[in-house]
Structures are given as structure tokens and as C-alpha cells.
Amino acid sequence: MEIIKAISIGALFGIGLYQLLRRNVIRSAIGLSIISNAINLYLLSVGAYDGVVEAYAKAVGQRSDALPQALILTAIVISLGGFAFVLALLYVIAARYRTGDSDEVKGLSH
């Protein structure tokens, strides 16, 4: 179970990072959202390692830490707001520059 979780978090990070570095601005926004989901999964696995015991607990017991779930809720709300703002910005950029290629969005580079 742990190995599946670890691999899927790593894969999400990889995909997100790859999309973030693409030239298309819409792809980079999508990459951003994928990375924020990867980080949420990571925080979740911090709280309930193997579904039962917290990763930092030395003794074995039947409990799961609820704090990281609260952290994830906060992070989800923040990334939702941020993603909505990015989409609004992309709308303005697409209307103004008539392109989605980040190499063409370079009004500031001179």
C-alpha cells in the first residue's frame, strides 16, 4: 500500500513539474494544479502512514493523526482560490496577446 502511494505521489509530482515547464501557459496552469494535488496527497500520507499509524509515532497503535487532514483542507481551499485567479489571468492574457505560447508573452522583457 505504501509503495503504491509513494509511486503515485512521485508520478503526480513528475507530471505536474513537466506540465509546469511546458511553453503553453494553460499547460503550466494545469501543472500547477496537479502539483498542488500531489502535495496534498503527500501531507495525507504524513498523517496516516499505512492508514493506521502516524509516521512520526514510535509506538504502534490503532490511531490516525487528524491534523494533516486539517492542513490539506486549508491547502485545498487556498489552491482553489489561486487556480481561479490564474484562470482569470489567463483569460486576460489570451485576450490581450492572442496566444498561449509563453515565449510570445514577453511584453516585460525589454
Partner: protein, 514 residues
């Protein structure tokens, strides 16, 4: 007022005022007056907080909802937090004064003042909080309000700059969350005091270096340290003047604050982090200076100059002697004042120019019609380069003296770690002088040649009240530097005793249990 409540007022007042200001959006004058009044009140409380902490010698700690320390969210003001928060809010008061007198369309927007207040909330909250996840929330508040304020800008490239900033800042936030996760998985706590106690007791967890790296990357992006600086000149050039003056002076200091916390409270054992900070500081000083000397835009020039000044501060943090930490605090304070003044003056010139831009091509020769701004620009440039009688001289002198002192007291091998940076610091001060006087000559000495016959310098621009007051403060702090120097030295003495902070936050009972 109970003293512990004073710790939360500098955060609560601007946050509530922002919500109320949004309700007042139909009446612009009332909204502006309300926001300015709230800012003054918030500054009064943070000054009171600083005074309480400094005079009693004990941190002021507020436990949110009265949950005891490692479980609830703690707002803890030791001398470092209180000094930084009071500094930030002082500069923001001047930012509000400038915004009230600005001619930009952006400052007339009904969400400008609420967002500006949110920026203050995030900044002072990030500096006062004692909880590392709360720090993340506050940093997100800074990012989103800064990005929206830039997207509102009169500059037609505002949305592009906001997009760049938001993308890179979200990457920084992901790094911060990752670092928080690494710390939580290793130590099972998010409270900074509790973390500091547990890290000091046990440095074995394999994820601790990863946490240090991720936190360091976050703060480097936040304060635009050299390999992570590329968003900063673009972003600061395109924001509205009152906003860019705040972003380039105090908002970048959240990263400096983070480094101070990391090297003195959370991970004082990480010597390699200090070495990295010194190395990046040196690169930043040189790169920022040369970058500033090669720009064609006054605002962009000062944004690059911020890279160099942050480099000085990082070197001070990396040396880690009592005097060099005091010099870093002093530098932080003085740079915040000087840099926001210089950006406001650039914005003033842009508001007078035929086309509203701070590029040298347009500004060339327009200074003839703005003699008062020329005087202020000259004094501010001297302060930036560190020439007496300005506060820039005091902070640079303190930093040089700490380096010389450390070089003389250390062993032979260590001295080269101090002399090489000192030499480069001297060179970069000369570069500062070069680019400031290059701008001065271009704007005030060269003749005004309008591109077309209709192009005229406007008769009225933004108000010069805020930069005038700040230059007066710069000169006053240069001549009468003793109180600020004393404050910086006391702060550095506090920073070298992290156990006092830990004890104040966790309380006697919990520390006895452990």
C-alpha cells in the same frame, strides 16, 4: 488591554478593516480614509507591541482560542518578530500616504485598499506567527493580494507580471508545504518553538536536511535571492507605484525573516546553510549591482538593486556573529525605508512624464521640471550607496565592522571567508554609486527632448509628501542612529538565546513534562 492581546492586534486590525473597507466600496473617499485610519491604528499597536517587548525583555505570546502551545496556533512576538512587524507597518503607513496622493487609476479601484490591507495582514502575520503552517497561510495571503494588486496596474503588462509572480510563488508555496510536511513527519509538530526544542534534541531524521533545503528555497524565492530572482524585476516594474514600493522593500523581507528564524531558532546546527547564504549573498551583491547598472528603466533598476541589498543582508546572517546579525537587522530596516523612497520617486517621475512609464528613454531630461524630486533622489541615492550622513551609511558600517572584527578574531583559515566578501562589498558599493548617478545624470542633467511637439511634462503628478517624509527619516536615522542600533543589537542578543523564545511559547509546565 492585556499585554498578550497586543501580539494579535497588528494582524487582526488590518484584516477586519479590509473586510469593512470592501463594504465601503461605493464611497471611495470614506474607504480611503477608513483604510488609512486602520493602518495608523495597526501601526500604533505594533509600535506598542515592540515597546512592550523591548522594555519588559520578555516575549509576548498569545495562544489562539487559549489552546496550550504545541496544539493550538501561537502568535509569538519576541524582539525579532516585533521589530520586523513594526518596521513593515511603518513603511506601509508611508505607502498608504503615497497611495492617497497618487494619480494612478489603479488606486481608485474599489478593491485597492482592501487588498493593500490584506498585504499588511499577511506580512505582519507571517512575521508574528509562531506556527509554521500559519506562516504558509500568511505567505499565500501576501502572494494573492500582491498578484491581484499588480494585475490591477495601469501598466498594460500588469496581468503578465502578475501571472509570472503567481506561478513562481505557487511553486514556492509548494516547496514550503513540502518542507512543512517533512518537518511534521520527522517531529510531529508544527509549532516553531516546539520544533526548535525537538530539532535541538534530535537531528537524526533523514528528512531534516530535505526540510531545510525546501524551506531555504521557499525563502529564497520570497526574497529574490539570485538563482531565484528572475520574476522580481518584471513584477516590480509593472505593479502600481505604491505597491511596487512596498513589494520591493518590505515584502521581500519575509524571506529574510525566514532565514533569520531558520539559522537562529529552528536549525542553528546547519552550518552549511550559512555557507550557502554567504555564497549566494556575494553572487547577489555582484549580480544585482551589475544588473541595475545595465537597465533602461528606473523602477527596474531599483528592483535589481534590491537583489544586491538582500545579498548584503544574507552575508550578515551567514557570518552569524552578534554584530553581524545586528547589522543584518539594521540593514533590513534601513533598506526598507530607502528602497521604498526610491521607488516612490521613480513612480513620481513616471506620473509626471509625457507617457506614464519609468523608462529612461521617456524620463530623459524631465527632471528639469521636478527639482524637489531631484534633491530627494540625490539624498536617497547617497543613502542607497551608504554615504554619510544617511542611515545607509550606518548599516553598511555595522556590516563592514562585524566582518573586520570576525576576520581579526578568527583563525587563519577562516579569515579568508571574511576578507573576500568584504572586498566584494566595497566594490559593489561603488557599483551602487555608479548606477544611481547614472540615473541622476540621465534624468536631471541631460536636456529634455520631447519625442513629439505635443509631448509635455505634466504639471502635477503624485504627491511628494511620502518620499519627503521618508528621506527626512533616512537622514534623521543617519545622524541619530543610536536607538535603532541599540534595538538591532538587543534583537541579535535575543536571537542568540533561542531557548528564551521556546520557554516563553511552551510555558513552564510543558517544558517540565518533556
Amino acid at each position: 488591554m492585556t499585554p498578550s492581546l497586543a501580539a494579535i492586534l497588528p494582524i487582526i486590525i488590518p484584516l477586519t478593516a479590509a473586510a469593512v473597507a470592501l463594504l465601503l466600496r461605493r464611497n471611495f473617499r470614506l474607504q480611503a480614509a477608513w483604510a488609512f485610519g486602520a493602518m495608523l491604528t495597526a501601526f500604533a499597536t505594533s509600535a506598542y507591541l515592540l515597546w512592550t517587548v523591548w522594555s519588559t525583555g520578555r516575549p509576548v505570546v498569545y495562544q489562539m482560542g487559549l489552546w496550550p502551545a504545541p496544539f493550538g496556533i501561537t502568535i509569538a512576538a519576541d524582539l525579532l518578530s516585533a521589530t520586523m512587524a513594526a518596521m513593515a507597518q511603518l513603511v506601509f503607513v508611508f505607502g498608504f500616504i503615497y497611495a492617497l496622493g497618487a494619480k494612478d487609476k489603479a488606486v481608485r479601484h474599489s478593491t485597492f485598499y482592501p487588498l493593500f490591507l490584506c498585504l499588511v495582514t499577511g506580512l505582519s502575520g507571517g512575521m508574528l506567527t509562531g506556527d509554521i503552517f500559519n506562516l504558509f497561510v500568511m505567505i499565500e495571503l501576501i502572494v494573492i493580494s500582491g498578484a491581484v494588486l499588480t494585475a490591477l496596474s495601469d501598466d498594460r503588462y500588469g496581468p503578465e507580471a502578475a501571472y509570472k509572480y503567481f506561478l513562481i510563488s505557487t511553486v514556492a508555496s509548494v516547496c514550503l508545504l513540502f518542507g512543512v510536511g517533512c518537518l511534521y513527519v520527522s517531529y510531529g509538530t508544527l509549532n516553531m518553538a516546539d520544533l526548535a526544542a525537538r530539532i535541538a534534541a534530535d537531528q537524526a531524521p533523514a528528512l531534516l536536511p530535505a526540510a531545510i533545503v525546501f524551506l531555504a528555497v521557499t525563502f529564497m524565492i520570497k526574497s529574490a535571492v539570485v538563482p531565484f530572482h528572475f520574476w522580481q524585476p518584471d513584477f516590480h516594474t509593472a505593479s502600481p507605484t505604491p505597491v511596487s514600493a512596498m513589494l520591493s522593500s518590505v515584502v521581500v523581507k519575509i524571506g529574510v525573516y525566514g532565514f533569520l528564524r531558520m539559522t537562529t531558532l529552528l536549525m542553528p546546527h546547519a552550518d552549511w546553510l550559512r555557507a550557502v547564504l554567504i555564497a549566494l549573498g556575494i553572487v547577489g551583491v555582484i549580480f544585482g549591482g551589475l544588473g541595475a547598472a545595465g537597465t533602461h528603466n528606473a523602477k527596474r533598476m531599483f528592483a535589481y538593486s534590491t537583489l544586491a541589498q538582500i545579498g548584503f543582508i544574507l552575508i550578515g546572517i551567514g557570518w552569524d556573529t552578534p554584530l553581524s546579525l545586528a547589522a543584518a537587522i539594521l540593514f533590513t530596516f534601513n533598506h526598507a525605508l530607502i528602497k521604498s523612497t526610491m521607488l516612490m520617486l521613480s513612480g513620481y517621475l513616471a506620473s509626471r512624464a509625457p507617457v506614464k512609464t519609468a523608462s529612461f528613454g521617456v524620463l530623459r531630461g524631465t527632471g528639469k521640471y521636478a527639482p524637489l524630486a531631484g534633491v530627494l533622489f540625490f539624498v536617497g541615492g547617497m543613502a542607497l550607496a551608504g554615504i554619510p550622513p544617511t542611515n545607509g551609511f550606518i548599516s553598511k558600517l555595522a556590516l563592514f565592522q562585524s566582518g573586520v572584527q570576525a576576520a581579526q578574531s578568527g583563525d587563519v583559515n577562516a579569515t579568508s571567508a571574511y576578507w573576500a566578501p568584504l572586498l566584494l562589498l566595497g566594490i559593489s558599493s561603488i557599483i551602487t554609486l555608479v548606477y544611481v548617478f547614472r540615473a541622476l545624470m540621465k534624468i536631471w542633467w541631460e536636456p529634455f527632448e520631447p519625442s513629439s511637439p505635443e509631448a509635455k511634462v505634466k504639471t502635477d503628478g503624485d504627491s511628494l509628501l511620502a518620499p519627503g517624509l521618508m528621506i527626512a527619516a533616512c537622514v534623521a536615522l543617519g545622524i541619530w542612529a543610536q536607538p535603532l542600533l541599540q534595538l538591532a543589537q538587543d534583537t541579535s542578543a535575543w536571537m542568540r538565546q533561542p531557548q528564551a523564545y521556546v520557554q516563553a511559547v511552551l510555558g513552564e509546565r510543558t517544558s517540565r513534562l518533556r
